[in-house]
């Protein structure tokens, strides 16, 4: 891929990616945000729009990060960062927390990904079957349990390999679970016919996006 092709458009920054996802989350949803970029989505949901954030370690109703002098040492999220609790928040134990996840009570989970396939498969926990000691955490529970699974990730690896694929080559996190993918290049819905483009980074053409994508894409419905 030539440098000139890249010059044609401006990929979204991580901030912009997080903001793009945040835009699609309506008031009243119960939402779990995975470790990494997904966590930043919360920063782009205004507090007046009441979205209730859940963390696997038994926190429901998380607020923003605390000021450095307001840290509560016993209040962390699943990424082990200090957080706050909003009025109306609550604490539960791990089995109850995952009952919320597994029982389909979360409206949305946003996870990072290594690969998303056009059949909705997600790979985000191990890069090889021979990975020594891959760490799954709560990813498989979240991917299988939430009402909707969205993935937020870069469109390609650093060397330009597409992470939007026909079939995942990495070990799966969940089968057929992903509904939508947000990348730095595009927003893609997963439909029975495969990936359908919802929107693209400013200045990016369909051909240019397809050139960077292993899976076949369908243009946005008119």
């Amino acid at each position: 891929m030539s440098d000139s092709a890249i010059a044609d458009f401006k990929p979204l920054s991580r901030q912009q990616m997080a903001a793009r996802v945040a835009r699609d989350i309506p008031e009243g949803w119960y939402v779990n945000l995975g470790i990494g970029i997904p966590t930043q989505v919360a920063d782009h949901v205004p507090l007046e729009r009441e979205v209730i954030f859940h963390s696997e370690n038994g926190v429901l109703g998380m607020g923003p990060a605390p000021a450095p002098d307001k840290i509560e040492p016993w209040l962390i999220n699943a990424g082990k960062q200090y957080v706050t609790l909003r009025k109306g928040g609550s604490y539960v134990h791990h089995a109850d927390s995952f009952a919320m996840i597994r029982g389909g009570h979360l409206d949305l989970c946003v996870l990072g990904g290594f690969q998303v396939a056009e059949n909705g498969d997600l790979a985000n926990w191990a890069t090889s079957v021979n990975d020594t000691a891959p760490a799954v955490g709560g990813a498989m529970d979240l991917a299988a349990g939430a009402k909707r699974l969205w993935v937020l990730m870069e469109h390609t690896t650093k060397d330009g390999t597409s992470k939007i694929v026909h079939r995942c080559s990495y070990p799966l996190t969940a089968v057929g679970a992903v509904k939508r993918v947000y990348t730095n290049l595009a927003t893609l819905d997963i439909t029975p016919e495969g990936f359908a483009i919802v929107d693209m980074a400013p200045g990016l053409s369909f051909e240019n996006l397809q050139a960077r994508t292993e899976a076949k894409l369908r243009p946005a419905a008119a």
Binding site: E27, G28, L60, G61, S90, M100, G103
Partner: protein, 228 residues
């Protein structure tokens, strides 16, 4: 602003469909959502499957709903009560189906439904009539267990002590009983609460049922339980 508090019984009961499975909480009269049950009688849905610990008392509440011919089947642990006349008449004349479930299995089947577990194994009822026709299996401890399936509800009727606008609930003393379990097991959870409190008034460590399991809250300061 999220606001699960509704202003009328009609609003609370809106949309309950014929054929629904309705989980009705309470143990005796304690923790029993009497006003919501009356609301369901008024609302009109029929061909219902009712899940409750008992099968109604006298001619009020759940018994009245059955007497009106609106309950196709009842799933409960203890169809007897101080005055079970309605149920017994319907049952004897073949006008209602009955599924008896051991009380703990009943609770766990709903807990499992709420927790995304379609089936589990328990030693309860193994070797008894209530395990007839059910799959059994021996596990590593050498003991035989029976497989029980989850019991999800379309609607749960719940009685709480305190509720806030996010649907966080507390329960008073033994009024907790089936309420938290039924709240998590149903698609639509409707609560009558003695008290409505401000968001944040319930300490976050002491929320008994988090609002994620609750859809609608009606303020019903109805006083002490009655009608065992």
């Amino acid at each position: 602003m999220i606001n699960k508090i509704v202003q009328s019984i009609a609003e609370a009961m809106a949309g309950i469909k014929d054929g629904s499975t309705v989980l009705v909480s309470g143990f005796g009269a304690v923790g029993q959502p009497n006003v919501l049950i009356d609301g369901l009688i008024e609302q009109g849905a029929t061909d219902l499957v009712a899940v409750a610990n008992n099968a109604g008392v006298g001619h009020v509440g759940l018994a009245r709903l059955m007497e009106l011919g609106r309950v196709r089947k009842i799933i409960c642990s203890f169809p007897r009560s101080s005055d079970p006349v309605v149920f017994e008449t319907l049952y004897r004349t073949g006008k209602i189906e009955l599924e008896i479930v051991p009380q703990g299995t009943l609770a766990e089947r709903m807990h499992a439904a709420g927790a995304g577990i379609p089936a589990f194994f328990t030693a309860t009822a193994v070797g008894t009539l209530l395990a007839n026709g059910k799959e059994t299996r021996q596990f590593d401890d050498g003991r035989t267990y029976v497989m029980e399936k989850s019991l999800p509800g379309d609607v749960a009727l719940v009685e709480a002590w305190e509720a806030d606008r996010w649907g966080n609930l507390t329960f008073k003393q033994s009024g907790r009983n089936f309420n938290p379990v039924m709240a998590m097991a149903a698609k639509l959870t409707i609560v009558q609460s003695q008290h409505i409190v401000e968001l944040g008034d319930i300490p976050p460590e002491n929320v008994h049922t988090p609002g994620i399991f609750v859809d609608r809250v009606l303020h019903v300061p109805y006083g002490d339980p009655s009608g065992f």
